[in-house]
Subunit: 260 residues, 3 copies
């Protein structure tokens, strides 16, 4: 296992590629996290569009440079709209990210919709430890959208699940792990207050999509999204409370320069 | 009638109990207020989940430590999903808060859904003066989500309604009143700019739910939520404009220490 | 063509009229922009309500002082709810603003719903260049919610479309143009970082509605909304990053005094 941080050339390279392309990223996400997810992408120079308005899922799902699907968008659309977007991305060879938020927290009908999306081969899957353990068939024990497990506990599940599914699995925690089943990257650092900003985890899904739009190395691109998040959070760590922290986190994302 | 403020032992006690439990709070709310509602709960150490994704209402409604239902969530779900969550909370003995936002503003079908929820015995009901007067059968005269009445005008309606329904009624205004029909608590202070932050009233509903999750005295717990809001708003009162005020309000909520 | 800025008497007059009335503004908008749209209206003293809860579209559409409809609200409601609100505003002689966000970006079913709203004679139509060119029958070339054209390119389309439709058309860009087909007003200034705050364009639609509620001259009122936006953005231009910029933009909106 190797480490990756903002100081590594691979992180700078993948972030440069994102900033160069200014990718059009289409997202289906929950309305709690939608604003922050869009602002994260705008801060790094990407062009987000969010939501399931009429035929957007089939059109934008196929024509965007990258797509992210946060399963909790089911709070404002039906399963078919999500499946349509995932299918469009898959058939259009558009890289797409699945965030199975709250899977394994006790809602079987909700969980089944998420599992049905695996048919469309997500390029990457991100979540917290409880969610990814549950998705991989373990006892995740999630409480709503919160994890009760650590990323270290999730790692073996991630590695076997990623290998089996042919995807990249990424778990957030005190240490983030990103793996394709054979190689694994650890991203350290960040600031625990990010977990006190609603939608911050969900918005990482949007940034991963942005990074995948023009990636040279997909595993490193997903890890680079985590490293970008970590460095922006660290630079915001002087904030006095959770409100200012969220504002300064966005500020530092928008100031992040891959050539600095 | 007695007063309660952040300086009173009862407010500190109830806030300590919330912080100790870190309750899982499930909310159905409108998408305008959802982000702030989640951030308010995260700022005080609770674990929110929001929305009506598939079977979340029946599952999370029963398994959360507390539930809040803001009727304007009807902008992204149907009446049955709200009723399912309210029924689940009621049958599971989960304390739940009803926010009848905009009742009495002229939309009879919307109002009827709110009234139908009273069957499930909300633990507390919060709103502005127009809303609570309308709910209690008076002429509330609300204009959209804004009140045209004062909390003093609402108080007699609250007291009879709370007694009749066996609930706690709480009205926000220059002075907040919280009553179970026999005892009434007044909470003074705060900052009027809180009314210029969208969703601040709705997000108080989420904090009341958090306070009820582990309350020693439910009437004091609801009043403590108002006192916490008031002191955080006062500490944010140096903010230059409404944007900064919202950020500093969250900051001060997150810094609030019941042992200080 | 004349210019209008915050320094002009007409802008001060129209803003004073808004602040004096404190209009009740009802909006159908997307959940990404809903919070900012409400906060913009609250910052200038208006009273917003947002969303399609049950019979709100027919009731609030007719009884509000002004209405704005952002077509991307289709991500959480159906076409009939939008049409109901537009019809109610039209039949009630309530001024209403159409924001055809993302029209011409490749989704024909979505675009058709927007076109069907023209039957209800919007008082004003606002958007970016790609959107307004597409609405006027040209090749807009929008990419999701982003423009690929300039406001200068859009101006001739605007002028003929406004004349033909009997509406006011307003395009945002480095220079904003507002026209009724015969007279055209240019609004300069602002700050390009406003395009990096999600929903800022959408929220301008809400401010235009607020300005139309009590306008003396509707063309100047729409231009005044753009001038208010521009001056608040300029005053926020010292912000270090996009997060702080959004906060300071709201601050300066809330501090804006037409008598200063």
């Amino acid at each position: 296992m190797k480490d990756l941080s903002w100081n590594d050339a691979a992180a700078r390279r993948e972030f440069s590629r994102l900033k160069q392309m200014k990718p059009f990223c289409y997202g289906l996400t929950n309305y709690v996290a939608a604003g922050l997810s869009a602002n994260v992408l705008l801060a790094v120079g990407a062009a987000p569009a969010i939501g399931t308005a009429m035929d957007w899922p089939s059109v934008f799902g196929r024509h965007a440079h990258a797509v992210w699907i946060n399963a909790a968008c089911l709070m404002s659309c039906g399963p078919e709209e999500i499946r349509t977007a995932a299918r469009a991305a898959h058939e259009g060879n558009v890289p797409w990210v699945l965030d199975p938020v709250a899977i394994g927290a006790g809602a079987p009908e909700y969980d089944a919709v998420i599992r049905s999306l695996l048919e469309f081969k997500p390029t990457a899957i991100r979540g917290n430890a409880s969610e990814l353990i549950a998705l991989a068939g373990g006892q995740g024990g999630g409480q709503g959208v919160e994890t009760t497990m650590t990323s270290d506990q999730a790692l073996p599940y991630l590695q076997s699940f990623a290998a089996e599914m042919g995807t990249i699995a990424a778990v957030s925690g005190p240490v983030d792990y990103i793996t394709d089943g054979s190689a694994t990257i650890a991203v350290r650092g960040g600031d625990a207050r990010l977990t006190l900003v609603t939608g911050a985890g969900c918005a990482l899904g949007s940034l991963i999509a942005g990074m995948l739009a023009n990636a040279e190395d997909r595993l490193e691109a997903v890890a680079a999204a985590h490293a970008v998040y970590a460095v922006a959070a660290e630079r915001a760590s002087g904030a006095v409370g959770t409100g200012s922290f969220a504002v300064q986190f966005l500020d530092h994302l928008s100031l992040l320069d891959p050539t600095e």
